[in-house]
């Protein structure tokens, strides 16, 4: 029964994606109500199945339920292939063939103390946001598009949260990235959202590249991509890895880079306020609640690696602390509510990262759930902020005067730093993007000159 529930958890968002995807591809005219109801049905089904798993786990004291859908792709090793042959049967096989590695991509999902709360939280928040968006975006030209992207996001989050193998986690991770970037650029007739969407996507792609290399290296080092295999005999969070420390540090750094990209940690923090260009419901569910915590989730999932390497844990703490200080400064000077909330989210996310680095496992999990719920509420309330603010001022009887304990010049310097968001985007643009594109543009000019000369044309 638990296997059936596990399949239902994954299948419900997958069916939703298929429905919306096919109707979009074939340009079938489907009304807003159908979209909302389909989303509600998929979310309810998945949520009920997830709660069922939780209850069953609590009742049986089973801490880990694995649901395997079998090998999606399987390339057997030569030894396996020739196992059934008679002794002389493999005469024609070359010696190198017998050393051939095998490959399998298993569609496996793991429900444990980490994934179950995440899955439930994803269903709850996506359900709330879809109900909110069905009114917020009523009669908007992009209504169907929003729900299509939301379904991709939901599937990506569920796949990432419940992934039993590192490859499945990557599958979901990529879906989350694409849907996020497209939703940032949702109001695509304006230039700003599109430019910001592309920036978010660029950061995500680099983070994904680090993730992919880390995943493949881990697969190579541990012999399989299974999290249960990686964690040895123990279940989360008590698993222990049996990989050399230096390798752990290298792979861990790659995952830390990926997590930093996804959770907007320094130096990638610049994309988070830019992502608020999207519609409020998507900002709430992506950058306030779920997507921004995915980096922290990854760090929790690979916590056996952190336990193995104190240096890696130290790096995690350092990155979290630096991000926390930066976000705290930037949050205090923002002049619009969504940016302010974005940096407020970042403060909490960076504290969660510090907690993970310090070796806590359940505390960051509880922190994530509490923070995600609070921030979703704040972001969906953001459009009515002025009303809330006036009510608060009226209740207080006026605005309290702010005084800085710092001397004027230092205060101004820090203010400028915070206003410019630490110049993080400018530094990346100036020292990474600009030299790179300048070199490529120079090559392009050179190539054009060469082909023009060859063809005898003077353009």
């Amino acid at each position: 029964m638990l296997t059936f529930a596990g399949i239902l958890v994954v299948l419900s968002p997958a069916v939703l994606v298929a429905l919306f995807g096919i109707s979009t591809l074939l340009r079938t005219p489907v009304g807003e109500t159908v979209y909302s109801r389909c989303t509600a049905a998929a979310v309810s089904t998945g949520l009920a199945a997830a709660v069922w798993i939780l209850v069953a786990m609590l009742m049986t004291d089973d801490r880990q339920v694995e649901v395997s859908l079998g090998d999606w792709v399987r390339i057997p090793a030569a030894a396996e292939q020739h196992a059934g042959e008679p002794p002389g049967g493999a005469v024609g096989v070359s010696p190198h063939a017998l050393d051939e590695p095998h490959f399998h991509f298993t569609m496996k999902f793991m429900f444990d103390r980490l994934s179950v709360p995440f899955v439930i939280m994803t269903f709850v928040l996506c359900g709330v946001i879809s109900a909110f968006a069905s009114r917020y975006l009523h009669r908007d030209g992009g209504f169907q598009r929003f729900f299509l992207f939301l379904s991709f996001f939901l599937l990506g989050m569920i796949l990432s949260s419940a992934a039993g193998t590192i490859e499945t986690l990557f599958f979901g991770w990529e879906l989350v990235g694409l849907s996020s970037a497209l939703l940032v650029a949702f109001f695509h007739d304006r230039r700003g959202p599109v430019v910001n969407g592309l920036r978010v996507w660029s950061i995500y792609r680099l983070a994904d590249a680090a993730f992919l290399i880390g995943a493949m290296s881990l697969h190579h080092l541990s012999g399989s991509g299974d999290f249960s295999g990686l964690a040895g005999q123990g279940v989360w969070p008590e698993g222990r890895v049996d990989i050399p420390q230096q390798s752990v540090l290298l792979v861990g750094c790659l995952f830390l880079f990926a997590a930093a990209g996804k959770s907007a940690l320094v130096p990638f923090s610049g994309w988070l306020p830019r992502a608020m260009e999207g519609p409020t419901p998507s900002s709430a569910v992506f950058y306030g609640a779920l997507s921004v915590h995915l980096g922290a989730f990854l760090l929790l999932r690979i916590s056996p690696l952190l336990d193995r390497s104190p240096v890696l844990s130290g790096l995690v703490v350092l990155l979290g602390a630096v991000t926390c200080v930066f976000a705290a400064m930037a949050a205090r000077v923002q002049s619009d509510i969504k940016s302010s909330l974005a940096f407020a989210s970042l403060i909490q996310v960076s504290i969660i990262v510090v907690e993970i680095g310090l070796g806590f496992r359940y505390l960051p999990l509880v922190h994530i759930i509490g923070h995600a719920c609070l921030r979703t509420l704040q972001l969906v309330r953001a459009p009515s902020l002025l009303k809330d603010y006036n009510s608060m001022i009226n209740a207080l009887g006026g605005v309290a005067e702010r005084r800085s304990a710092l001397e004027q010049s230092r205060y101004q310097r820090m203010y400028r730093f915070a206003m410019n968001r630490g110049n993080l985007d400018s530094i990346l643009d100036e020292f990474v993007v600009r030299p790179f594109t300048a070199a490529l543009l120079w090559s392009d000019r050179l190539e054009r000159r060469w082909t023009n000369w060859l063809s005898g044309e003077n353009k």
């Binding site: 999606w72 399987r74 096989v93 070359s94 992919l212 594109t437 082909t451 060859l454």
Partner: protein
């Protein structure tokens, strides 16, 4: 002894488009010519699929046609042979030709010659099933003709294309002539290997001899350029004419330069201001990835390369056809500004994104497993190569979304006429999309077939290396005994 297919699929599949091209050349009405071309290309696709199915049923590494008419005509054995590597390629190429012909709008019929396209199809199909080195060289030379004729007809300079293709043919012929005894299983000498390697680099468009590709895409019709590039006959020629005979240093050189090309082109795609040049670099990056991994000493990596070969062919043709469809509405696409085409052609927008993402191996698409295998194979053998591959893929991903934003987003384009996509265009790209998604969601049959091909190729290489090694030992032994005889 090579097995025999149950029908002369290959020969009929090659002759049919040739005849169809002749009929189209005689027709003055371009609309009727397109109808004939669609019929012929459709029939050719059926034959190619029939060949693939028949070959799978035969269950051998190689097979030739039933009756083998070429043998009767030329008196030589096994000229047209299909093997594990090439079995799906004629079907893939026929599909690409059919979809390109099908999605050509009436307004473009006077520029896009149906007879030359069918002639090209015939040559491509013959190339993909040809095992005779000299005939392969002739076919590769003939393939240059249709684009060249088109460039001349359009009144643009074909010099860049001709210089590169001419050099390719001359170097290939010279390299093969200098091979001597090595052609029958040994290894090429230094000069011969150098000539063959440079020829391979030229045809595959490897940096720094890649400029002809951007020039062709800028000057020829988009359809002709796509059909010259996406069947990847260059990579096929390298696999059959160059890799089996050149020494390890030459193979390594091709692999390293291809890898550099993959990363460089991915970067160049990112800064292009013209959609055709962007497509050129994107294609170059992907085709170089395939080429760079064909020398891998690892079956997993080789399986990945062969999977990516198929996925790139499918996805980038779809991607190219989508750009072509948009281009036929708004003219040459500049990536400097936003065109706002989403409101007019949302289906094309979706398919542009889908085909583009499939080419970089996005999850759920046909390229995903291929890329995973490729990276897995690389990380195991050469970690740095794996890193470059992932970097190229990341850059390609950024450039694809950038192009999508530039073409489809922005203030909606104001037009007095409808810019909606036509049924034929939608059919072509939706069919490709279904194949891309189908192959992505159910990848095992494709991967198993490519793994079998990769294994057979590796075994063949191993046998050749063993033969070459024993020949070298024999030569050394003969030389030693001769010197002992002269200096007792």
């Amino acid at each position: 002894m090579i097995q025999e297919l149950h029908f002369p699929w290959l020969e009929v599949g090659i002759i049919l488009p040739l005849v169809g091209g002749g009929i189209c050349a005689c027709l003055t009405d371009s609309v009727r010519a397109q109808k004939v071309a669609i019929f012929v290309a459709g029939l050719t696709l059926l034959l190619a699929v029939g060949e693939w199915v028949d070959f799978s049923m035969v269950g051998s590494f190689e097979a030739h046609d039933h009756w083998d008419l070429t043998q009767r005509l030329t008196g030589r054995d096994n000229i047209l042979v299909i093997d594990e590597l090439s079995a799906p390629l004629p079907a893939l190429s026929s599909l690409l030709f059919l979809l390109t012909i099908l999605s050509t709008l009436r307004t473009k019929l006077d520029r896009f010659s149906m007879s030359l396209t069918l002639f090209s199809e015939s040559i491509v199909l013959a190339t993909l099933s040809c095992h005779d080195p000299w005939l392969l060289i002739v076919l590769l030379s003939l393939a240059v003709l249709p684009p060249w004729i088109e460039l001349v007809r359009r009144g643009v300079s074909p010099r860049v294309f001709l210089i590169h293709m001419g050099a390719f043919i001359v170097l290939l012929v010279a390299g093969r002539l200098l091979l001597g005894d090595a052609a029958t299983g040994g290894q090429a000498s230094g000069l011969s290997a150098t000539l063959l390697t440079v020829a391979a680099l030229l045809r595959a468009g490897v940096v720094p001899v890649h400029c002809w590709m951007a020039d062709l895409l800028e000057k020829a019709t988009f359809g002709t350029a796509i059909l010259f590039l996406t069947p990847m006959t260059g990579a096929f020629a390298v696999m059959h004419l160059v890799l089996p005979v050149v020494p390890v240093w030459a193979i390594r050189s091709i692999a390293i330069l291809s890898l550099i090309t993959a990363v460089y082109s991915a970067g160049m795609a990112l800064v292009q201001k013209d959609a055709r040049r962007f497509f050129c670099y994107l294609f170059l990056s992907h085709s170089s990835l395939v080429l760079s991994k064909l020398e891998l000493v690892n079956v997993i990596g080789m399986t990945g390369a062969l999977c990516v070969w198929i996925s790139v062919g499918l996805s980038l043709t779809g991607f190219g056809l989508t750009i072509r469809a948009v281009e036929s509405r708004i003219g040459r696409i500049s990536l400097d500004r936003f065109h706002g085409m989403y409101e007019h052609t949302p289906t094309l927008a979706g398919l542009f994104l889908l085909t583009g993402l499939a080419s970089i191996g996005f999850p759920g698409t046909i390229g995903f497993v291929g890329m995973e295998l490729l990276i897995e194979g690389c990380v195991e053998v050469y970690p740095l190569v794996g890193l470059s591959l992932v970097l190229a893929s990341a850059l390609n991903g950024i450039s694809i979304l950038r192009a999508w934003f530039r073409i489809f987003t922005g203030v909606p384009l104001q037009s007095s006429v409808s810019l909606k996509s036509q049924f034929a265009e939608r059919f072509a790209v939706v069919l490709l999309a279904l194949l891309i998604l189908g192959g992505g969601l159910w990848p095992q049959p494709g991967v198993a077939s490519r793994h079998h091909a990769a294994k057979s190729l590796m075994d063949l290489r191993h046998q050749r290396a063993t033969v070459a090694g024993s020949q070298a030992v024999e030569t050394m032994a003969t030389g030693r005994s001769a010197s002992e005889a002269s200096h007792p």
